[in-house]
């Protein structure tokens, strides 16, 4: 068995051979994609990472090879030597379709049982089977492509950041649990029974310390961990492109990253990203799109019609306005004829976002139809239509409630309508936007205190620092998210580098000086020794690769992902361990 390769060296990959290579001898190695007996010949499609090559065996080409080929089945791993010829009936669907190899010898490197899943593109098999036999699932050409894209993207990122003076530096995986975030994965310490390491949720504190150390520009492509109940497209371990720069302001971070994004999309997809990328303050994003992750591939912006209806007789509108809320709407073009049932479904949809209902005005060819028409004056209806810039054939969908509910539900409805109307089918359209001027803090109603929107090290905007202690809710942050097609690709901020300001920030967050020092003492201590101004950004690499691969399933871009219960169907992790191992850690299982 071990001798199989001793006298045999592959000298080409399957996908590389073209007409210019004919009449030369090649040795290829790979897997049997398909085998057919046809007119006394045996045809094998041999597959490797680069593609598929047709090989033909015949008694007249080589009898021994023909006989061995006859015993070969799908997914056998084999080595073939032969001469390349032009194909009589070319296959224009594959790059090697003009040629075929005439098999002069063949070796079976290893046999295969019948695989439990098909090795083909766009497989529609049950996920648990795909995950259990992940090594077969990964043989599928679309999966192979995803990981080639992942490799190339990481390479581009590293090349670009290296060219721009960044050092890739590793930070610890076994570190300290820092509250104020998601739940940590814990690692019991054997040397200090009862104490734990935490796996990092991000290298945030360490990268800031590296700036204090004067490394100037740092990056890392690094695993991060969150022990959260998994929503779709979340994994317990995920990968960040993490970077930090010294002596910079927002513009520096943003401009550099625009160049990086442009390079990635050009090299991977041949898509030209226009830079500078639009910047949109958080408040505008919320106002027009009801979200801090606006999808700009289509319009249908939210419009405030409070002014138009503030004196109307419709109690729902009046009540919302009187309680400090608002009335807002989106315009769905060419949908004025939407049936009642469909509209009822939309009404159900917004109820998921706590809206009490959905009002509507259908501006039809011959009539204006609306269940609220009876409560509104004709002038008021016309004012709404004018404000919405609606044309005949358009449908206006209206929500009235407190602002947060109105914006959130209409924002979601907007995206929902775009999907329903199939406005997002062009998967080569990439609309980027920087969302900026985020609120620094948000008020946690339950805990009756402010909490950091981004994280507690984020720098307030210069002009808002004065409100930090008096009106914390008013303070905007030097924070920025890069949003692509309605999803957050990454985010970052300029950090506080002044320990006095940092302490003030902790005070606003309701930490006593003692508890702030207990949690982040080493950072505050470090800030006593000439920290540079600094800021950075982190991307979710998995999310980025999803965009570049055109998949909407995060499991398609992670080699060995976990399922919704953070369980690995392949290795069956987590699993029981020896009692002895647990004992050594000074812990007991219940």
């Amino acid at each position: 068995m071990g001798e199989l390769l001793n006298r045999l060296r592959r000298n080409t990959m399957c996908g590389e051979l073209r007409e210019s290579n004919v009449e030369q001898k090649y040795t290829v190695m790979g897997w049997v994609q398909r085998k057919r007996n046809l007119g006394g010949l045996i045809f094998i499609d041999l597959r490797d990472r680069t593609g598929v090559l047709q090989v033909v065996f015949g008694e007249e080409i080589n009898k021994e090879a023909f006989e061995i080929a006859d015993t070969i089945k799908s997914e056998y791993c084999i080595a073939i030597t032969g001469t390349l010829y032009k194909r009589e009936s070319p296959n224009k669907n594959i790059p090697t379709g003009m040629v075929e190899l005439k098999g002069e010898s063949v070796k079976i490197l290893s046999e295969s049982e019948t695989p439990p899943i098909y090795i083909k593109e766009n497989l529609d098999a049950a996920e648990n089977i795909r995950l259990k036999y992940r090594y077969l699932d990964l043989r599928r050409p679309d999966m192979q492509r995803n990981f080639i894209i992942r490799h190339k993207t990481a390479k581009i990122v590293r090349d670009f950041l290296d060219e721009n003076g960044f050092l890739e530096m590793e930070t610890p995986m076994l570190t300290k649990s820092t509250p104020e975030g998601a739940r940590d994965y814990l690692v019991p310490s054997r040397n200090y029974p009862g104490k734990f390491y935490a796996l990092p949720q991000s290298p945030q504190l360490f990268k800031q310390l590296l700036m204090v150390s004067g490394f100037d520009r740092y990056f890392q492509i690094v695993k991060c961990f969150r022990d959260e109940d998994l929503r779709a497209n979340r994994q317990p371990e995920f990968t960040q492109i993490d970077m930090e720069m010294s002596f910079v302001e927002e513009d520096d971070v943003i401009e550099l990253n625009e160049k990086l994004i442009k390079r990635i999309f050009k090299e991977i997809l041949d898509v030209d990203v226009q830079i500078p990328i639009e910047r949109m303050p958080y408040s505008i994003a919320m106002e027009k799109y009801g979200t801090d992750k606006p999808d700009l591939r289509f319009g249908m912006e939210i419009v405030n019609i409070t002014e138009e209806v503030k004196e109307c007789d419709f109690k729902v509108f009046r009540g919302a306005i009187e309680n400090g809320g608002s009335v807002r709407a989106i315009k769905v073009e060419n949908c004025a004829d939407m049936g009642r049932k469909k509209i009822d479904k939309l009404s159900d949809f917004v109820k998921n976002y706590k809206a009490k209902g959905l009002a509507w005005i259908a501006y039809r060819e011959n009539e204006i139809k609306s269940p609220i028409a009876k409560f509104l004056k004709e002038e008021e209806i016309n004012n709404i239509i004018n404000k919405m810039e609606a044309k005949k054939g358009d449908l206006i969908l209206i929500v009235a409630d407190k602002n947060s509910v109105v914006l959130q539900s209409l924002g979601a409805l907007r995206v929902h309508m775009a999907k329903e109307l199939e406005l997002l089918k062009d998967n080569k359209e990439f609309k980027f936007v920087w969302v900026t001027e985020f609120p620094l803090l948000s008020y946690n109603e339950e805990e009756k205190r402010y909490q950091a929107e981004h994280h507690p090290f984020t720098m307030p905007m210069d002009e808002d620092i004065k409100y930090l202690e008096t009106e914390p809710g008013k303070v905007r942050a030097k924070a920025y998210d890069i949003v692509l097609n309605g999803e957050e690709l990454g985010g970052g901020s300029i950090r506080i580098h002044d320990s006095k300001l940092q302490e003030k920030m902790f005070k606003v967050l309701g930490f006593s000086q003692e508890s702030a020092w207990e949690r982040f003492g080493f950072l505050l201590e470090a800030f006593k020794f000439g920290p540079p101004p600094h800021g950075g950004l982190a991307y979710g690499l998995d999310r980025l690769i999803m965009f570049l691969s055109g998949t909407d399933n995060i499991k398609d871009v992670i080699t060995f992902p976990k399922n919704q219960n953070a369980f690995c169907a392949l290795t069956e992790a987590p699993n029981v361990v020896d009692e002895e191992q647990i004992k050594e850690l000074g812990i007991r299982t219940k």
Copy 2:
């Protein structure tokens, strides 16, 4: 504070300025390395990642800047704008020594307390202080250099492997505990109380699965974990350059890696590594150097003199030989005059390796001096001298015992003598050797069973497979270590890709079929589906960077290392966590 940089952009790094740049205006930012008042002028050495630049402030250059400069102290972080001039008294010790910046304005970006350690090269401070204030320790130029080397080395590795068709792919950090290795770090699962993930000791199984998936060539620069009591230069988390290739034999892996090594040493150190690198079978390495990590920078090989003394009257020699052991020696040139006390110390030294004592023959100008001369015939002494090829002035050091003790103690003594005699002072000498033909298995006397020397997936040598079940101890492996100056830099093997052979291997290792499947079932299962022949190699990146940086302390090449108790003095990890967090995991601390 936030406004500090708004109107100020750095346009050069400190270490970049030369005579060709004079009479131009620059803004530099960095840390105050040193400040002197001299003849009414203030001189500041400003430091950033690239080096140091002298800046001079004077009342006549700019009064305001001069006054601010007067308040500045060591390690303040500042920004200076000024014009570059040629220096009147150049400093030839630094690259920027021909020029100085005349400070026209200066901004204090942040102040610094007096640092608890000096920010200078080759600091001789207590390690615990250095680790506690790691962010200051990392400001020291020698530490900065180490991490620049680390970044560059990783970049070279990635570029090289990318050029050679490798894909960088990530494998899971939260995985299954696999016994038969070091102790795992465990991560309790919240979803499955009582069950645990393990942090990987290496991506071994996953990289083999990626080969089964047809990715052909994989690599990863990846964190690995071992919960072991820390010896010097070990860390609980360490970094591997891990690679695996399909359709290869040993020569392919070795030849590729020789090119990689050559590239790294050329680009980082401008050292030419001669390839092909010498290969030495394990048995020769043991025989001549008493170790599988031979240091070839000097001779002093071990010589077997059993034949020469087998009939002598010296009971110690005769006894060792009769018990199946041997008598062996090393020759230390020009040390025949070594004093008795020194020789006694060497005797104590070998006792650490279980040798019972050290015999010696000093071949002096006018006499042959030896405590064992009285037991040996003159002819026997002459035979020893001849066999050792000793010249007048040489000292022969002899150990007699069972073979393992003789070889180990003389191997250690050989290296010890080289250090004593300062034969290893040239730190630009790099002697590589591949050690090959390792034993596949070793017999564990305690557990009365064979265990894998490398790991249980290593392929036996073709010509030895026949001994696998009958004489397992005789079987050599297709395994190879790359050794540099007596230290293992990396190692790997060709893997078994035949599930029948793999099962046989497990049987030899004493696993029942059931327990083998329980532990490695998913790999055995994967091998049913056409696994390709494959093999690989992994380097210890930290160790490699130590060589390239010229440090013998692993902590000098890891950003935030742990101490001997796996404790981080900076963050104080591991630490206590909320009781609530522990409860959620279904565990209790004792």
